[in-house]
């Protein structure tokens, strides 16, 4: 392996990807116990995208997320316990249980919200980038979105506006090949999302989204460009969705073998782990795994112990 990045960085990547996966697995399990009420969209398989991108950001930078947002929140700095509490619908959740999985947000760490509407995040991220630009804060904004979301017209409206205004914006497509139960090759006539950037005089970069080094480095470059006032970048991260679209999806549209093969050959965590182990950099492996496990266990305990919001909360937070 190339010694491109310091050991701590790489091991940190590995740990952070693990945290997301462990969170998702725990949430899926808690859901089967009936403790989580709404649907879940698992981020398993895509961990390198969130972690690689967010590692290149500062605490003050903004992220707008999607329905598949747990990974983005965790990678941007949200606490696992308050996230789990949100999924459990508790007062100590980030959104007092009002948002649930589809709307987790932690403005404190710049995470402006998951979103239940496909294609709604582009403009929100662009607006955060606009604030950054107008105020000269030096912040950048990242919009994560899926491949399916590229067929919403809002993608193009925002690409044009962001390029015109040279907004410090990263448009990050997590191309997992599916929109719900349909392969996006059936619904998108274009085969490359990154290539759409050219129309808007914006760099479009293809990255293997399961190669965290590549994701990180591409993001570092895009962030530098954004902070330098040169405008947005479009990153297309080719990745995989290891589970169904959401918790209830039986995946009739693809075979078990296909999924198994993906999990074998395209796992971003195994890939980095193999590299790190090969280079003898994973001496802390067991300690890290134990720490992650402890964090998840504590998160579930925290969520279990947290109260449901009191009845009067139902009419709070509508207006200032």
């Amino acid at each position: 392996m190339s010694n491109d990045l310091p050991k701590e960085t790489l091991v940190g990547f590995w740990r952070d990807m693990h945290r997301i996966r462990a969170f998702e697995r725990s949430a899926a399990y808690q859901s089967t116990l009936g403790k989580i009420y709404g649907a879940l969209h698992s981020y398993e398989g895509q961990e390198a995208c969130a972690v690689g991108v967010c590692a290149a950001l500062q605490a003050g930078d903004y992220v707008a997320s999607t329905h598949r947002g747990h990974g983005h929140s965790l990678a941007k700095g949200a606490r696992m316990d308050r996230m789990m509490a949100e999924l459990f619908g508790r007062e100590d959740g980030y959104c007092r249980g009002k948002g649930g999985s589809l709307h987790i947000a932690d403005f404190g760490c710049g995470m402006l919200g998951a979103n239940g509407i496909v294609g709604a995040g582009y403009a929100i991220a662009a607006g955060a980038a606009l604030t950054a630009k107008q105020s000269g804060s030096g912040r950048v904004a990242v919009c994560f979105f899926g491949d399916g979301a590229v067929t919403r017209g809002t993608f193009h409206e925002v690409m044009n506006m962001a390029s015109l205004w040279k907004l410090p914006l990263l448009m990050v497509c997590e191309n997992n090949g599916y929109a719900q139960y349909v392969s996006t090759t059936e619904t998108m006539v274009f085969r490359s999302v990154a290539d759409l950037a050219a129309n808007y005089a914006v760099p479009g970069v293809h990255v293997d989204g399961n190669d965290i080094r590549g994701v990180f480095q591409a993001t570092v470059a895009a962030v530098a460009r954004a902070r330098a006032g040169e405008g947005p970048t479009l990153l297309e991260l080719r990745t995989e969705r290891f589970n169904g679209h959401s918790s209830g999806d039986p995946q009739f549209y693809r075979s078990k073998a296909e999924v198994q093969e993906l999990r074998r050959s395209r796992d971003p965590i195994l890939r980095l782990e193999g590299e790190l182990a090969g280079a003898g950099l994973l001496d802390d492996r067991d300690a890290i795994l134990a720490a992650v496990e402890a964090e998840v266990t504590a998160a579930v305990a925290f969520a279990d112990a947290a109260p449901y919001p009191a009845a009067e909360a139902v009419t709070q937070d509508v207006y200032a």
């Binding site: 709404g38 009002k98 948002g99 589809l102 709307h103 239940g116 509407i117 979301a149 009419t315």
Partner: protein, 326 residues
């Protein structure tokens, strides 16, 4: 009569009308098996007539409109009715108005089918009941069936008409069973209310899922000697005011229930109309029950507070009926 679910009733309507009209097409996202599985099994029966679309609701409805103007009938399926917010121009500025703007040249055999309302924990962007937006707009029809028979009969009528129809399907009703007449000729006219239960003391007008809550309450109220008449308008544009007025003339009391927030709702429209046109029939104030004026929360403890419930109906009706009549 055979009993089938709302889901199957809608599937039958689609199937029969596809057979009847060779030009009919259906478009939407994940169209096979369709939102909440409504189209299961139909794809093979009608090759090339169920069109899988990209996630492009504005283009879906706009294209469906253009197809309806030149052919049709067309169904555009929008997975959750909250997503109609991304294609309001196509519905309201285009489909609703093209006949009028062209002095009657256009016909628009377009039905927009969309699941509406309550489900489990999916929160503010997947639970709204926005039918009032469409009922506000001249040129649209708006159906909200509460039974399998009405779902089938209204959808078939909508597909045989030449006006754009918003066809709202309550998510929690898809699995509910009820009697549906055999044969392909079961039609229900838009704008005809159904008296779901006869009664003497209070007229309760309810739409969609709220009809079953009203019927539940009716049983409970009967025990304490209060008899309510439950009227289901079935379409909220047009509204069958004759039936509602007739019932109020009899009972002299009105409660209108909606799952939507009350402000500028269909419930407000009905209450205002009765207060305007049947003021002298009324023995007391019109009453309304709707969702509290808040977005829908995800957590179950708050979610149940964010919708009207049977208890609310019981409480209000008991307030309305003076003790002597009980």
């Amino acid at each position: 009569m055979r009993e089938i679910t709302v889901r199957d009733a809608i599937r039958e309507a689609v199937m029969e009308e596809m057979q009847r009209s060779p030009g009919m097409i259906v478009m939407g996202e994940d169209i096979m098996p369709g939102a909440f599985g409504v189209h299961a099994g139909l794809g093979e029966m009608f090759p090339g007539r169920f069109l899988e679309t990209p996630i492009s609701e504005a283009a879906i409805v706009g294209t469906a409109l253009g197809a309806a103007m030149t052919g049709g009938p067309v169904i555009a399926e929008i997975m959750y009715s909250d997503f109609l917010a991304v294609c309001m121009d196509e519905i309201v500025n285009q489909a609703a108005k093209i006949r009028y703007m062209t002095g009657g040249q256009a016909r628009v055999p377009l039905v927009i089918r969309s699941p509406i309302g309550m489900t489990r924990g999916v929160a503010a962007q997947h639970s709204q009941s926005l039918e009032a937006w469409f009922a506000h707009i001249p040129g649209l029809r708006v159906a909200m069936p509460s039974t399998p028979a009405d779902a089938k009969g209204l959808l078939k009528t909508a597909l045989r008409g030449e006006d754009p129809v918003l066809f709202f399907e309550q998510k929690l009703l898809y699995g509910e069973k009820g009697p549906v007449p055999d044969g392909a000729d079961h039609l229900v006219q838009l704008g005809t209310a159904h008296v779901a239960r006869e009664g003497e003391d209070v007229t309760v007008v309810a739409t969609g899922l709220m009809v079953s809550k009203a019927l539940e309450a009716a049983v409970e109220l009967q025990r304490s000697g209060i008899s309510i008449e439950v009227v289901d308008p079935r379409t909220v544009s047009p509204i069958d005011f004759d039936t509602i007025y007739g019932s109020v003339d009899k009972t002299a009391r009105l409660l209108v229930i909606t799952e939507a927030t009350l402000a500028c709702s269909v419930a407000s429209e009905i209450a205002a109309s009765v207060a305007e046109h049947r003021f002298n029939s009324l023995d007391g104030p019109v009453r309304r029950l709707g969702s509290p004026f808040v977005p829908k929360p995800s957590t179950p403890t708050l979610e149940k507070l964010a919708y009207p419930g049977t208890d609310d109906i019981l409480r209000i009706v008991r307030e309305m009926v003076p003790r002597r009549t009980r």
